[in-house]
């Protein structure tokens, strides 16, 4: 199990467009990822589930993976830091 934590700083949180771009990024990866926040969890390849989490600016999220390579996890962490 690998994981990282991140605090969302996008002022609009993870509403449609940022969530869509994130899911698109993860769909292009071979590993599987879940995201947890405030007791909810969702598959990072499923847009509606991610949007349904209602993640807002300032929320701390945890991203976990059982099977992703270290490189992919690192790439995804960078994506969060640069875009969200």
């Amino acid at each position: 199990m690998q994981q990282f934590e991140y605090t969302i700083t996008d002022p609009n949180g993870l509403h449609a467009r940022p969530a869509g771009l994130l899911v698109k990024k993860v769909q292009g990866m071979s590993g599987e990822f879940v995201m947890e926040c405030r007791g909810k969890r969702a598959d990072l390849k499923r847009l509606l589930a991610i949007m349904g989490m209602g993640i807002r600016c300032g929320d701390r999220v945890t991203v976990k993976s059982e099977n992703a390579s270290e490189g992919e996890l690192h790439k995804l962490k960078n994506y969060f830091e640069e875009n969200l």
Partner: protein
């Protein structure tokens, strides 16, 4: 005449005839199917067709309005192809043996309910997106083509119960002067598209709208969020005037975008934008700001329960610097206190907060809060052209102390191996008479001055600008204030430093000539004033006699 009130989503005035848009009935009949797998196959085919339509719509949007608006339809396609959505439809067909249309309608209802019951108004508005893709699927399943969206001949004003994002995108800009909807929300993608497409629009005016007649005359005021059905001649006249004003504004934009702020005799001045937060960066760029002259960092601290972290602040500063693409961004360090109170700062109640613990005084009193902000600023400095300024300065020692803290933070970052730009400029607000009077001593300590005329006026005249009862006494062009400004500009220039004006007087067209004559280097104004000032400046000739 009947007046309806709603919410304006894009400013603009349109006067014309109504084209009522009635959707064909969207009720879906339920029937049982014998062969579930065949029904699933029919659904999958419809989904593929709908996905193709959305790709085509994305490409049209990309051509017409650009990437950021077009992304809406990329997201729609992703929603359409979302596994949870598909699973819900397949599940209904398999277990209940219902037709695909009915299964889609049920899934749509369930998912849109999840969103409309969320707390966040932005997320609530996403229910409309679910309905949009679901209607598309059902229409394809029923073997129908897309509905006709625009009137065929003269420009009309579309009135509808609601418009989906995809219907909005298919409106022909040439034939649709404005649109009004009975329902809808300002947070919807429909509203975002209206703004991107530049169509004046009012939403949420209520069901009475659909009692209007096709061809009836209507005025849409996108600024005020009002709709006038069968307006009387007086209203028509007034709104026609307003429409012309607005048109003039938009023409100005067309005419002056990309041009220099230079007078007929060749005197130049920079015009930058004042902004509150990231949301206004777009407006600054749209109105062709030469940079950001005042980025009020307070918004990061307001409406929350605890101090913003270094990381949060860093992301915001980095974003604004990157968005401005190398143009100068002047960020003012936090100016809490006076009329902006924040609970978690734990400030004591004051008899006279305008003259109490605020601005640089809080920062110097709470070095840890100040350090966090300075660290975030310096870390962001490598992403653009950053200038930092301190508010509410009254003395040489305050400037020295603040600069000393900044130097320490810089040294810390160097030790940690975190890169910082060496080109960051440091400046101060001149907004107290004290600072203006000793500006000759302050100028050598900094790279620039920015004159905050709102506070400078109130402190010089001892008049509260928010107190209406003394409005008659308050002369915004008082000679005392003008002399302080002139003195500050001269002192800055003697020391070889630049000086800007970021208060309300900066946007006051009556003073533009005066400021140019004083030699002010930069005016920072709300985005909407930038091109009006450019227009004014390009028609001024300082060789003419002084008035």
């Amino acid at each position: 005449m009947k007046v309806l009130s709603g919410k304006g989503v894009y400013g603009g005035i349109a006067i014309g005839k109504i084209s009522l848009f009635h959707r064909k009935s969207r009720s879906v009949t339920r029937y049982t199917v014998a062969d579930g797998e065949a029904e699933i196959h029919r659904f999958r085919q419809a989904k593929a067709v709908a996905a193709e339509e959305l790709t085509a719509l994305y490409e049209k949007a990309l051509r017409d309005i650009g990437e950021s608006g077009a992304q809406i339809f990329e997201i729609h396609r992703m929603m359409l192809e979302d596994d949870d959505y598909t699973d819900a439809v397949l599940h209904a067909i398999r277990t209940e043996g219902v037709n695909a249309e009915y299964a889609v309608a049920t899934a749509a209802e369930n998912f849109s309910m999840v969103f409309s019951s969320m707390e966040d108004p932005y997320m609530q508005a996403r229910a409309a997106d679910i309905r949009d893709i679901s209607h598309r699927l059902i229409r394809v399943l029923e073997g129908k083509g897309e509905e006709q969206m625009a009137p065929k001949e003269e420009p009309r004003i579309i009135c509808a119960d609601d418009l989906s994002p995809s219907e909005t995108m298919r409106l022909d800009r040439e034939l649709v002067a404005a649109f009004v909807t009975a329902d809808g929300s300002v947070n919807s993608h429909t509203a975002i598209l209206a703004r991107t497409m530049g169509i004046p629009a009012v939403v949420a005016v209520g069901g009475q709208l659909m009692e209007a007649r096709d061809g009836e005359t209507v005025i849409v005021d996108g600024f005020a969020g009002r709709v006038y059905l069968s307006p009387d001649s007086q209203t028509l006249e007034r709104m026609e005037e307003k429409r012309k004003e607005d048109q003039k504004e938009k023409d100005l934009l067309q005419k002056y975008k990309g041009m220099d702020n230079v007078t007929l005799d060749g005197t130049r001045i920079d015009i930058f934008a004042n902004i509150q937060g990231l949301r206004e960066v777009g407006a600054a760029l749209l109105h062709d700001a030469g940079g950001i002259g005042l980025f009020r960092s307070e918004f990061l601290y307001l409406d929350r329960r605890d101090f913003p972290t270094e990381e949060e602040q860093f992301q915001v500063y980095k974003t604004v610097l990157q968005s401005m693409g190398g143009k100068k961004v002047v960020i003012r360090t936090v100016d809490i206190g006076a009329d902006k109170q924040v609970g978690y700062f734990g400030l004591e109640r004051e008899e006279n907060p305008a003259m109490g613990m605020r601005g640089i005084r809080i920062c110097l009193n709470r070095p840890s809060v100040f350090r966090t902000q300075l660290r975030a600023l310096l870390r962001a400095s490598v992403f653009g052209k950053l200038a930092v300024m301190f508010p509410m300065i009254t003395s040489v020692s305050e400037v020295r102390d603040a600069m000393e803290l900044a130097t320490q933070v810089r040294q810390d970052l160097d030790r940690e191996g975190i890169p910082c730009s060496n080109r960051t400029e440091w400046g101060i607000m001149i907004e107290t008479p004290a600072a203006a009077l000793i500006s000759d001593r302050l100028a050598p300590l900094v790279d620039f001055f920015s004159i905050g005329t709102n506070d400078l006026t109130q402190y010089t005249l001892a008049m509260d600008r928010q107190n209406r009862s003394i409005a008659a006494f308050l002369d915004p062009h008082h000679e005392a204030v003008m002399r302080l400004i002139e003195m500050t500009v001269q002192h800055a220039h003697t020391a070889g430093k630049w000086v800007g004006i970021c208060g309300e007087l900066g946007a006051d067209g009556e003073l533009t000539e005066c400021f140019l004559r004083m030699g002010v280097d930069e005016l920072s104004v709300p985005p909407a004033y930038i091109l009006r000032l450019r227009d004014k400046i390009r028609n001024l000739d300082l060789r003419n006699d002084q008035k």
